[in-house]
Symmetry: C2
């Protein structure tokens, strides 16, 4: 008798309802279905076994790590098996003289940072959450340091992946650059678990700079802050973080932790220098540019403790917004636009929020043109929050921007894919069908083949 999905179990599958129900919710406020079960892989061989079983019985697979996706990548839509690789958390090796680390996909960003710090090295991609490297690759994550170091595409040299027929492939090489063959490594990065399962990553590490300094700069209005940020980019200042917060954000911070900030838009800037003397020059230069744009108030931090305090303030923004809206969920937009369109995008966020009667705070990676709008919602205002998101994406796309700078398409942004890419969606679907003809991996996410 041929086995059927109903009577064949994956090796080691956990089918307890309480475990399965844990996968029906995530950060988006959307609800998923109860998955068939959870398989916890401890090795590439475990992943191969699960994928082969799934392909044989026709059960789709969702690769899962720390589950910090903000776009519903990991919500089951049918009868999927969750293939949890978070226990594949070994740092296989750190090659100090080659500036690389080889890691399993369940290694988290903080775990990697702690492991490479003794070598005077760092892994720069920081999406905020303590995500797994596998998940960060799957979403092409980036964050505050991407203005200087880029996101996952630039910092992953090679991937090991398991594709739909259970084959283990190595994509890319452990070299600074290559022009050999098609760039499958970057195709899998950002594919949201729809093309295969990542089982190993070779990532690029960077030396910790000799001197780093930080400055918080307050401006009379958004335009001035954006113009100052653009000038910083245009003068080749050695900026390693270039973050924006609006007046709503500084007010929230003042209310939450007595920040004493002017209630006006601000930039948080990190710079790198080759010596402490050069650092002073660089910070002087940054502040001079800020003064050209009507600087209201500045705060410079050079010691490690002062820098930590300055950035702690920035990192308390989301807790501050949460504290100001108890009992709410939070929708976070992720559009990115060209520099010349940022001020317009921020102004539009506030105008649309007023029209729809929702609260908004804007903050984000202005050096990449990627400013998030955070909208608290209750059951009564969820639809309005989604309409807000639609309006922001429509605007970004109308000026040539992207619906998602760093979170990925997942489920929540899928509706925008065709508007952003037009006919190229047909090419994406052709690639998906070529590499996953059975639609085995994370079906219904990113695109429908």
């Amino acid at each position: 008798m041929t086995p059927t999905p109903a009577d064949v179990l994956a090796p080691g599958i956990d089918t307890r309802l309480s475990v399965r129900e844990g996968f029906t919710r995530d950060e988006t406020g959307l609800r998923g279905r109860v998955p068939r079960g959870v398989v916890r892989a401890r090795s590439t061989a475990d992943v191969v076994a699960c994928v082969r079983w799934a392909a044989a019985v026709g059960v789709p697979v969702i690769p899962v790590g720390a589950r910090t996706s903000l776009e519903g990548h990991l919500l089951p839509l049918g009868d999927e098996v969750m293939l949890d690789v978070s226990a594949m958390s070994e740092i296989i090796r750190v090659d100090q003289s080659d500036f690389v680390a080889v890691v399993q996909p369940g290694v988290t960003r903080r775990q990697l940072s702690a492991a490479v710090s003794p070598y005077g090295l760092h892994f720069p991609v920081d999406p905020g959450a303590d995500a797994t490297l596998g998940g960060m690759a799957a979403t092409n994550a980036s964050g505050t340091t991407s203005v200087r170091y880029g996101g996952m595409r630039r910092n992953v040299l090679s991937l090991t992946v398991v594709t739909a027929d259970g084959t283990v492939h190595r994509l890319g090489r452990q070299v600074a650059k290559t022009s050999s063959g098609y760039d499958l490594k970057d195709l899998f990065i950002g594919s949201g678990g729809t093309l295969g399962v990542i089982t190993e990553l070779t990532v690029r590490l960077h030396p910790v700079p000799d001197s780093q300094g930080s400055v918080r700069l307050s401006f009379p209005d958004v335009e001035a802050a954006v113009d100052a940020a653009t000038d910083l980019i245009g003068t080749a200042a050695p900026v390693s973080r270039l973050e924006f917060v609006d007046a709503a954000a500084t007010s929230a911070l003042n209310g939450f932790c007595g920040g004493g900030l002017p209630p006006s838009p601000a930039l948080f800037v990190d710079v790198e220098a080759t010596s402490s003397a050069a650092l002073v020059d660089v910070l002087d230069g940054v502040e001079a540019i800020a003064r050209d744009h009507g600087l209201l108030d500045g705060c410079r931090a050079q010691s490690a403790a002062d820098r930590t305090a300055l950035w702690d303030m920035r990192h308390r923004l989301f807790p501050a917004i949460k504290a100001a809206h108890p009992g709410h969920g939070f929708l976070v937009t992720d559009t990115a636009v060209a520099y010349s369109r940022i001020a317009e995008a921020v102004a539009r966020a506030h105008r649309v929020a007023d029209e729809l009667g929702v609260h908004v705070t804007t903050a984000g990676h202005i050096g990449d043109g990627n400013v998030h709008a955070v909208v608290p919602y209750s059951g009564a205002t969820f639809d309005r929050a989604r309409r807000f998101s639609d309006r922001m994406v429509e605007h970004a796309l109308s000026v040539g921007g992207t619906a998602t700078g760093e979170h990925g398409i997942g489920l929540a942004k899928k509706r925008y894919l065709a508007d952003e890419h037009g006919s190229a969606c047909v090419l994406m679907a052709a690639v998906k069908t070529a590499l996953d003809p059975q639609n085995l991996f994370n079906p219904g996410k990113v695109l429908d083949p």
Copy 2:
């Protein structure tokens, strides 16, 4: 009566034998067949018309620009039409405040540099030859500045391409980063004209740094030069070029232009700084690292004239090698390896050259682990030169490196693709078949679907 390939001509096809015969040779020493003809496109519409005609009559198409490929990308293997886009050479716009330019594919690197220089901006990717931007994207070109700015993948934000059914697609967006959908832009970059025809590029520009300085550093041996280069990377020195030449190269330069260099391995280093005071500190730091590794002789250049003179020396290397070997062709390897494997690769180049009885000079982008070996060959030694190349690639692959850091696979490196990528070649072939089912574009290059 149904038209057949023999009696249907592409719009505006040039079938003069003298013109067609010009396409049978290139820099590789390999010979191509005489193509069917040449179509010179002046617009995306011309490209669409040619591709539709070609698809309808089943004639393959090779997109052609400045024809500076070093790997036989553009040699006809059958009855192809050469689709020459070099007349599509318009710089469509420069958006100074967004740090981007939009260009047609026939715009050359020097043409773009001249156009953006008045804005205080530069396009950093410099493969040496005055290649077209379209061709540079097709091969994922890079060069001396890639250690700081990356190659084409990092500096092309979006592409317009015409695919096999004559559809015009836009891949990527004019934003610093995006996680939206599959990364088709980077898939087409480096695909060697095998997936479609590039008809427009949006490229990233960078501000010209305030202060730049250069230094030439001579070392007692290759190991010392490599160790110094690795230390420069490891100290986060703001290096924008990091070039290596071996003792054979310095000897060739001394013979050619009376360089007066110590006949020993050397580094040519460019650094960037935020002020002239900081520049002196940075150059002091670079020289201190060089002294730690037994510096024999150094030459510092801070003025624009001195810097030009210093780099002119480096740029005369290939003319110097040519002058020393009149009547020869030149094979140039393009392997890249991890930093810890560079010295071994250079030593092996000289050992293998001795074994095979060929002359070799090694020089290249040590900051990317991409050191070229240049082997002069005559009719009698061509086979030995090819064997030399095989041996170098075998070694690079055996230590985890790549057959081609920046030239691309084309025709000449195709034999190495399977050794480098193993089973992933099956995925590449699946992608090719999905996007170009008729094998219309540049058949027989990069891979066989």
